[in-house]
């Protein structure tokens, strides 16, 4: 025991604690890590087999549909569906995908109060929100674009015009991928704000699907009632029709008649992306952590 009061004091031994002097990985690194982990998590990679069933199953179903389309397209004299048409057709399945995956990405973090752990790193709230949004959009893009690659490979091998045919298919593929990117961005920024509202996946999925499933008949009724401009604008209410309208406007593909209002649909898509992103950012500014 050190004696206090008469000169002798205790000694602090140096037991070799050291400061960390290596490289400190910053915001970019943590955001990139969260991004890769989120995209992997969206498809259940690195998780249990049950977590993979739905996302991988949806992707597999879409790929099988693409294989069938290759056969149909090559056997029939006319092409039944092109790449952009594929984006339009698969959007419905993609809404199911975001409704299942978006709650996986954010609701569990909210429910288990994980956000404070993320924020103890250099990552900021904005980084977290934007990274999750980007991860959801990327996962959706893979879901829409993957089958297109299968269609491209199939069509390129069975083309009759040699290399010119391959290049014309490649042009179509690029258009299709652009359409897929737009669809993915719109669906992700539509779904993530809803998912970030609740820590319960049940209600998150319910809300997202409510928005897509409930608006479709509304726009259907308005199309049945309206005529001319009303009919062509009614698709704005329903995200799936809105995206099909954008496809029609940009690529003259798709399955929805928009008349002269194509730019309105483009604007609608931009508004959804902007509002969805700012709602997500606003929401994560408020989340307690």
């Amino acid at each position: 025991m050190p004696e206090n009061g008469n000169g002798a004091t205790g000694v602090i031994h140096d037991i070799g604690y050291q400061r960390y002097e290596g490289v400190r990985l910053g915001r970019g690194y943590s955001a990139r890590s969260l991004f890769t982990q989120s995209v992997r998590g969206a498809y259940g990679l690195g998780r249990s087999a049950w977590a993979k069933v739905l996302p991988i199953g949806l992707l597999a179903a879409a790929s099988v549909a693409a294989l069938i389309l290759v056969v149909v397209n090559t056997q029939l004299p006319v092409e039944v569906i092109d790449y952009v048409g594929m984006a339009s057709t698969f959007t419905y399945a993609a809404t199911v995908f975001v409704a299942v995956v978006a709650p996986e990405l954010v609701s569990v973090d909210l429910r288990t109060n994980l956000l404070s752990l993320y924020l103890s790193r250099p990552m900021t709230r904005t980084d977290y929100a934007l990274t999750k949004l980007a991860a959801l959009a990327t996962a959706t893009f893979v879901m829409l674009g993957g089958p297109m690659l299968i269609l491209f490979v199939g069509m390129a091998f069975s083309t009759d015009n040699g290399i010119a045919g391959v290049f014309s298919e490649f042009g179509g593929l690029l258009q299709g991928l652009l359409a897929a990117a737009i669809h993915a961005a719109v669906l992700a920024s539509l779904a993530l704000p809803f998912a970030s509202l609740t820590g319960r996946r049940v209600f998150a999925t319910g809300m997202i699907i409510g928005v897509t499933l409930l608006t479709a008949p509304i726009s259907g009724v308005l199309q049945a009632l309206g005529e001319g401009a009303g009919r062509q604008l009614a698709g704005l209410i329903d995200p799936v029709s809105l995206l099909n309208g954008v496809d029609r406007w940009l690529f003259d593909g798709g399955i929805f008649d928009v008349g002269p209002y194509g730019p309105v649909y483009g604007l609608g898509a931009l508004v959804i992306i902007a509002v969805g992103t700012s709602c997500t950012l606003w929401r994560y500014r408020k989340v307690k952590s």
């Binding site: 809404t95 209600f203 809300m207 509304i218 259907g220």
Partner: protein, 237 residues
């Protein structure tokens, strides 16, 4: 049936803000009917979309999905299922009580707005038919989703894939899929009573009743068996 379990379930289901989640769908349904009626155009145009396309194809399955997978699913999520399982109650009684509450809540939440809409559209027969369809449909749906909430850790996702991909997408391409679609059962049953041009039924009513009964039986028995050997685990990973 156990009234205490039923009362507790009802309170857990309706006692909080989440009941508001069920509110927008009936409002949209009634609102669209009002728009249709005031538009002056014949109900042949918008009727099938509102009653069949929205009411029985969207509002009913979605409500049943949220309610059916919540009655037991929330308890599993929260871990309060342990308290329930340690009580000296037969597992079948727990499942039946939960199912009964889910059925009643779904029927009321769907049947009442449907009936109001049909009355606004001026067809009491349609209202009766839709209520009957909602009764049958919500029983089959909630039994299925209740069993799902015990079998899988993500019942809503699985149920959603069934509703959106099987009932709404596959049925359009593969005709035989209709036989196993609860939505078609409900529509058929509703139309047998209503005999209205606004509902398109495609399955013979006897087949629909039998398959729906099979769904209910499989759901209830499956849930009971699953609950007998229920393993308590953590959050889905």
């Amino acid at each position: 049936m156990n009234t205490t379990v039923m009362a507790l379930t009802t309170r857990a289901l309706l006692g909080r803000r989440r009941i508001l989640l069920l509110l927008p769908m009936p409002l949209v349904l009634i609102g669209l009917t009002l728009i249709g009626v005031t538009s002056g155009s014949g109900s042949d145009g918008w009727g099938p979309l509102v009653f069949g396309g929205l009411g029985l194809a969207v509002v009913l399955p979605l409500t049943a999905l949220i309610v059916g997978s919540s009655v037991l699913g929330l308890e599993i999520d929260d871990g309060t299922i342990t308290h329930l399982l340690t009580k000296p109650l037969p597992r079948s009684e727990i499942v039946l009580s939960k199912l009964c509450v889910a059925w009643l809540v779904t029927t009321v939440a769907v049947g009442v707005p449907l009936a109001i809409s049909a009355l606004i559209a001026g067809s009491p027969a349609l209202a009766a038919g839709l209520v009957a369809g909602a009764l049958l449909g919500s029983l089959a749906y909630t039994a299925l989703f209740l069993a799902l909430s015990l079998i899988t850790k993500r019942p809503v996702a699985v149920g959603l894939v069934y509703i959106m991909l099987w009932e709404n997408l596959l049925v359009g391409f593969v005709d035989g899929a209709k036989v196993f679609s609860v939505q078609q059962h409900a529509t058929t049953f509703a139309n047998t009573i209503a005999k209205s041009p606004m509902l398109n039924d495609t399955v013979p009513v006897v087949t629909a009743m039998i398959i729906a009964a099979v769904f209910v039986a499989v759901g209830t028995v499956g849930a009971t068996l699953r609950l007998r050997s229920f393993a308590l685990t953590g959050e889905a990973t």
